[in-house]
Symmetry: C2
Subunit: 380 residues, 2 copies
DNA sequence: ATACTTGTTGGTAACGATTCCGGAATCGTT
DNA sequence: AACGATTCCGGAATCGTTACCAACAAGTAT
């Protein structure tokens, strides 16, 4: 049980001043290789870890990255977290979790943002699927706080990381077209999320490419969850036979599960009577009956890229401290000019890939290798 | 954009010293109602929020709660987080996320613990499904850090919150027995997790209660995930007919999905040829074919109770600051005596409930209402 | 040899809040 | 009118670290 060893203790043991220890800690300034070595050994021996708290206070910058996560349960969040943790664990940074309820929009949103702002606790923000909240994030970003958004953004200002939803949806629908389907329905997600639009657009593009005009009657809106998928499917199944779709592209696997239930109830076979393709490649999708053809997103990589981007922005706003400081040292001469990020918005787009299983009625031999994916592959 | 208002600014505006402001902030000491009022108004006007960093440094205690989460994807984690966030959002505390990889045990474990210890960043720890790491947590707890464990603990020292896995499993198996099954197999989880043992014990108990001796050949071990469930099921399905089980109780829904796959491949019908019951009530379980009978855990409540317990422990170790301080003020007179928590270990057990669907072959009318659950109920 | 770099190091003042302790104001008693 | 008690408030030290600036040694140019 280490009895709280401080930087001063290390300094004493190494026979130097705490300034020097601090220097080797932050690899700033010149330190004689010999002393650096010595200090580092002592640090190791004492298993000394500088107090984040004190460092934050003194240095004016914190080692904490805020992570905004909606309580709304996206299935890919756990995988995303894995990617994020993977990176964070190799840095001196820690994650602060801000969870907010995306449902009751009015209250929670500004409260959370205020909390993030006010405590001045974090050096940067990684927002996962911000949905409606993303407007508020823009404000934060413009005030100089490094912010990165994962997967959801309408205006084009904040750095972001996202999967190529358009192409993913395009691949899915193209696949159905190649299997001979012409009346293809789409169950889209709520309009608050960019992903909903992107997937819809991919759907449109694939149809239009082969000269099919999208039929508005075949495009329904769900909320990403199974019950809504079931409800939409029921609407489709009661259409007169000539108007009924022969295939359905659901914007999430979860909604596809709902479609499966509805089909069973209506005595329709999948893929015999209707083909079905989902989106997300949730774990259970390989195990439902029939196994679900779907689009896989590189969740792990998205998390990884996202946090790396935040970290690089934070680092960048530390280096050119000269100008950036104007943000915090409120000069007495009146208004402190807000200094936006000089870095151009970084956008990282990751690729999606088609996973062919039984629910689309494919013989598993369709030529889909020309997809732009590196991860393609049928799985058990 | 608040230009970083400090406690000193508030003090000036209110015409008092920062000491007084601090007092109204922490409701310590006596402050004249009038001045308190005035100060509070200024605080409100300036939307001043004290810096957690500075407060932590000065006060010796932090407003951060560490949350240990394995990267291993438990399906109930999102729901658990919701419960935790729900509570935290109404307190001045924030969550720090420590994610660790439960797979490569040797390295990550001590690293994480060291990190938690060393940075002295958090006032308490909430550990979710710690599995193998739980021994290390005991050490932390004994050193005086408030620690609460959710769902996993072998020695009986740390406060914990858990679902009643034994009774859950008991209910599941009892239900199968009531349906007439006698040869009931169990696919259990890895021995590192307490839940695996508990569920196995519930299984045993239900069998023994009706005079059936558990057949070791019918108890297999998986790793909670679908492929392992499939592998175990295959082992069972190749048994000679007279030894083959007529029902399977899988320790997780995910493994049950694997069983479903295996059954299909072997041309066995569920529940016709084998009945199946899972555990966890994952979202997709209502949508697989056939819908899965399972045991539901109150994940949300578990999260809620867990964080509340941590918070109360933290509060308790703040109040009687006198003795507790001996922990941190390492006296010169030699060894600092370690002061264990005076509070008796709190244990909170939440109830589980049987969700009857089609996979067990029940007609949905079995009398299972005598379960100890308040949440019972068949769902679509 | 002197002055001037260059490279290293130490001293000291922040950072923003809490906490201990002593002093002033208020009040009721004798 | 004076006194202690009680309430309320301010001064100054402190937490562990970083930032800034001055100081010192050694090496090089003059």
């Amino acid at each position: 049980m280490p009895k709280k060893v401080t930087i001063l203790d290390v300094a004493r043991l190494a026979g130097v001043s705490r300034t020097t220890v601090s220097r080797v800690l932050n690899q700033k300034g010149e330190v004689d290789p010999a002393t650096r070595e010595r200090v580092q050994r002592i640090i190791e021996e004492q298993s000394f870890v500088p107090s984040l708290t004190a460092a934050g206070l003194a240095g004016g910058h914190s080692r904490l990255i805020g992570m905004l996560v909606p309580t709304f349960t996206w299935t890919m969040i756990p995988e995303l977290l894995r990617g994020i943790a993977d990176v964070i664990n190799n840095t001196p940074y820690e994650l602060v979790l801000y969870s907010y309820n995306d449902e009751d929009l009015s209250r929670d949103q500004s409260v959370i943002i205020k909390r993030v702002m006010a405590t001045q606790l974090t050096a940067g923000i990684l927002a996962v699927f911000p949905g409606r909240i993303s407007a508020q994030l823009t404000r934060l970003y413009q005030q100089g706080l490094p912010v990165v958004v994962i997967d959801d953004q309408f205006d084009q200002t904040i750095p972001w990381v996202h999967a190529d939803n358009v192409t993913g949806a395009y691949l899915a629908v193209q696949h159905l077209i190649q299997l001979g389907h012409r009346r293809i329905a789409h169950i889209q997600g709520p309009p608050e999320y960019l992903a909903s639009h992107d997937r819809y657009n991919g759907y449109r593009r694939a149809l239009q490419e082969v000269g099919i005009t999208p039929d508005p009657e075949l495009v329904l809106t769900g909320d990403f969850l199974p019950p809504s998928g079931r409800a939409c499917a029921e609407q489709l199944f009661v259409l007169p036979p000539e108007k009924r779709p022969t295939a359905i592209f659901a914007a999430t696997d979860q909604m596809a599960y709902g479609v499966l239930s509805a089909a069973e109830e209506h005595g329709l076979s999948v893929p015999g009577d209707v083909a079905l393709v989902g989106f997300d490649d949730d774990t259970p999708s390989a195990h439902v009956r029939p196994p679900l053809t779907t689009i896989r997103q590189p969740s792990f990589e998205m998390g990884k890229s996202g946090i790396e981007l935040v970290l690089s922005l934070v680092a960048a706003s530390d280096e050119p401290a000269a100008q950036q400081h104007s943000l915090f040292k409120s000069t007495k001469d009146g208004s402190t000019p807000v200094q936006p990020h000089p870095i151009k918005p970084a956008r990282i787009e990751l690729q999606t890939s088609l996973i062919v299983r039984a629910s689309c009625g494919s013989s598993y031999h369709v030529d889909w290798q020309h997809s732009n994916s590196k991860m393609g592959g049928t799985q058990s």
